[in-house]
Symmetry: C2
Subunit: 343 residues, 2 copies
C-alpha cells in the first residue's frame, strides 16, 4: 500500500507510491509503447488488458468488459491509492503519515483512439461530463474520502502516458493543498463580505471584459488576472454553485458545450497543445466532529470551476522549487486572441 506523508516544512501531503515504485535504473531509459494503437489497453477489443470496469456506457445486449461500449470507467492498473483499509494515521517522531487509502480510476472517454475532446459529438461529451458527476457522487458515499479530484492530462508533455483519450480520478483522504488554499480564501472572503469570492471576481471581469474569452447563458470563460501560465483558462458557472456533483443535466449539457468550444479554441490557437485540466469542486461535505460549522457556509462561499493549463513554457522549470511563477503572456493578450477565434 502507498503512504501519505506529511511535509512539516511545506505543510502538505505527498503520496509515496510504493505500488508504482520505480527503481533508479527505471529513469535511465524511458519507454513509451502507449502510443501504438495495436497495443493500446484502452481501445475497443482490448478490455481484457485493463482491470474489470467499474461502470460503463454500453448497449444493454453487451456484457461488462466486452466490446461495444462508448465510455468505460476502470480502476487504474497502477493505483497511487487503494480502497481497502483504514486511514492508519500515526506520527513518526516529527513526521506524520497515513495509509494510502483512496481511489484511482480512469475514465476512458471514447473507444476512438484518436478522438480529441474538442472534436467529440456534443451528446458524447455530455455523457462523459455526466460520468464525472456520477463518480463523484458515488465516491462521496465513502466518508473516509475527503476530496474527489477529476483531471485530464492531454499529450505527453502534460503527463499523459497513454495517448488514448482518458480522464483520471483520484479520491483522497485529505484535501489537496491547492483546493484547501482556495477554500480558505473563499471562506475568509465570505465571512468578511457575505459574498462569494469567485462571484465577485467573475462580476468584475464581466464588467471589465478584457480577460473574458467567451460567455454563454450559463458559463463564463476567462483568463485569470494573475494567470500563472500563458493561456491558463477558467470555466465558471454564472449562477453560484459549489458542487459539480449537484449539477442538473441541463447545466452539465451547457458545461459540455462550453468545454468543447474552449478546448477547440485552444487547439486552434496553439496547434493542439498539451494541456492539463482540473475540476475544482466541493470537498466531500461529510460532517466531522467539531467541524460542523466549517461546512455550514460551504454552499455559499465555494464556487466550482474548471481550470485548464496549456503546457507551453519549459522556462517555467524553477517554479517547482519556489512556488513562484513568471508568465510571459499577459492574460489580456491571450483572451483577445481566443476571442478572435469566435466560430
Amino acid at each position: 500500500m502507498s503512504e501519505l506523508r506529511h511535509d512539516p516544512v511545506q505543510r502538505r501531503w505527498v503520496i509515496v507510491a510504493v505500488e508504482r515504485a520505480r527503481r533508479p535504473t527505471d529513469f535511465k531509459k524511458e519507454n513509451n509503447v502507449g502510443n501504438n494503437p495495436t497495443v493500446c489497453p484502452f481501445c475497443d477489443g482490448n478490455e481484457d488488458k485493463t482491470p474489470p470496469e467499474i461502470t460503463a456506457i454500453r448497449p444493454a445486449y453487451t456484457s461488462p468488459n466486452s466490446s461495444g461500449w462508448s465510455i468505460r470507467v476502470i480502476p487504474n492498473k497502477f493505483p497511487a491509492l487503494s480502497v481497502e483499509g483504514d486511514s492508519g494515521r500515526k506520527g513518526l517522531g516529527i513526521f506524520d503519515m497515513m495509509n494510502g487509502i483512496g481511489a484511482h480510476e480512469v475514465i476512458i472517454e471514447t473507444p476512438d483512439h484518436n478522438m480529441h475532446m474538442a472534436d467529440m459529438p456534443i451528446e458524447h461529451l455530455f455523457e462523459v461530463c455526466k460520468i464525472y458527476r456520477e463518480r463523484i457522487k458515488d465516491l462521496h458515499k465513502d466518508t473516509r474520502l475527503r476530496y474527489v479530484l477529476i483531471f485530464k492530462n492531454h499529450g505527453e508533455t502534460a503527463g499523459a502516458s497513454l495517448a488514448h483519450p482518458h480522464t483520471q480520478l483520484i479520491a483522497t483522504p485529505i484535501t489537496p493543498r491547492t483546493i484547501s488554499t482556495e477554500l480558505d480564501s473563499a471562506r475568509d472572503h465570505y465571512m468578511a463580505k457575505e459574498r462569494c469570492l469567485f462571484c465577485d471576481i467573475m462580476n468584475q471581469e464581466l464588467a471589465l471584459g478584457e480577460r473574458i474569452v467567451l460567455t454563454t447563458e450559463r458559463f463564463v470563460v476567462m483568463e485569470p488576472y494573475a494567470s500563472r501560465f500563458p493561456f491558463e483558462t477558467w470555466i465558471l458557472p454564472r449562477v453560484h454553485s459549489h458542487d459539480y456533483a449537484q449539477s442538473s443535466d441541463e447545466l452539465i449539457f451547457a458545461f459540455a458545450e462550453v468545454l468543447r468550444e474552449t478546448l477547440h479554441r485552444l487547439k486552434v490557437a496553439l496547434d493542439d497543445p498539451p494541456f492539463n485540466f482540473v475540476l475544482h469542486t466541493s470537498p466531500n461535505a461529510v460532517t466531522r466532529p467539531g467541524k460542523e460549522n466549517y461546512w455550514k457556509t460551504l454552499p455559499h462561499d465555494w464556487h466550482w470551476h474548471l481550470e485548464i493549463i496549456p503546457r507551453l513554457t519549459k522556462v517555467a522549470g524553477f517554479e517547482w522549487g519556489t512556488g513562484f511563477y513568471i508568465n510571459p503572456t499577459p492574460p489580456e493578450v491571450a483572451a483577445e486572441y481566443l476571442r478572435s477565434l469566435e466560430q
Copy 2:
C-alpha cells in the same frame, strides 16, 4: 515594465512579464538555437552579445566585457523584473498589483560551454559559490527587495534555454510563497519549542539513517521524508545557520565540496538528468515598520539549505493544477542508491 499580480484565490504573486511578452503564435514552433556553441552568448569571446557585466572574476590585466574571465555576472537580457522605479502598490477592485521591480541576473559559471557543475575543479566551484554570497549581500542593500532567489536550471527539460552552464538570480519585492510557507512553519515550531525545525528534522534523520545520502564534517545530504519527486535531495549545514550570505569562506568551500559530490552522484545514478536547484536562505531582514518582532527570531528559527530536484517524472503533470504530488520512488530507496555510489 513587468507587473506583479496577486492572485486572491491562491494568495500568491505572479510576475506577468511584459518585456518578455510572447504572442500566441510564438508557441506554435519552438526554436532552440542556444545549444550551438558558435552562437552561444555565454561563451568566451562573445561578451558583446550580453548586457554589460555586473561583476566578474578575471585577471587584472583584462578589461570588463572582454575575453579572459573565469566567471561573469550579467543582467538577464530579457529580465522578468527590472531595477528602476518604486513598488507602485495599488488595488484594482478585488485585485492587487505592484510594479515589477527587482533584479534578474545570470551567473555564467565558466567559459567552458560543456563543463558540468559536477565536474568543475573544486577551486572554481568555490569561486562560483562565493559569487552567490556576494550577489545576495549586494542586493540586500536595496531595502525594496525582500528576497534573493538563487536557482539553477540544468537541461532543457528543467527549463534551461541555453546549455552553457549558468545560475540565475531573481531578487523580488515579495517573498516567494514556498519560502514564506517554510518561514511560517519554522517560526511556529520555534515559538512552540525554541528549537529549529530543520535542526530537529536533520537530527531525527541522522539518528535513523535510512534517508541520509552522505555526511561531511559540516554538511548533511538527505532525501526528505515527504519527497515530492524521485531523488529530491537537500543539502543542509550541520551547524545551525539562517543566512547563506553570512557564511565564512571555510563553510562555503565545504559547501562547494559537498555540492559537487552530490551532483556527481546524481549524474552517475541518473545518467546526467535535467535538474533544478534552489537555494533557500534568509529573506532580506531589513526592519519594516511593525515587523521588528517578526525578524527577531529569524536567526534562530530559519535554516538555510539547498534543494535539488532532478526532473525525471513527466507523470507529475497534474501537480501544477493541484499542488498534490505522487512520488513513485520512496526516498529511502533513492538514498540507499546514492549511498552506494560512494567514491
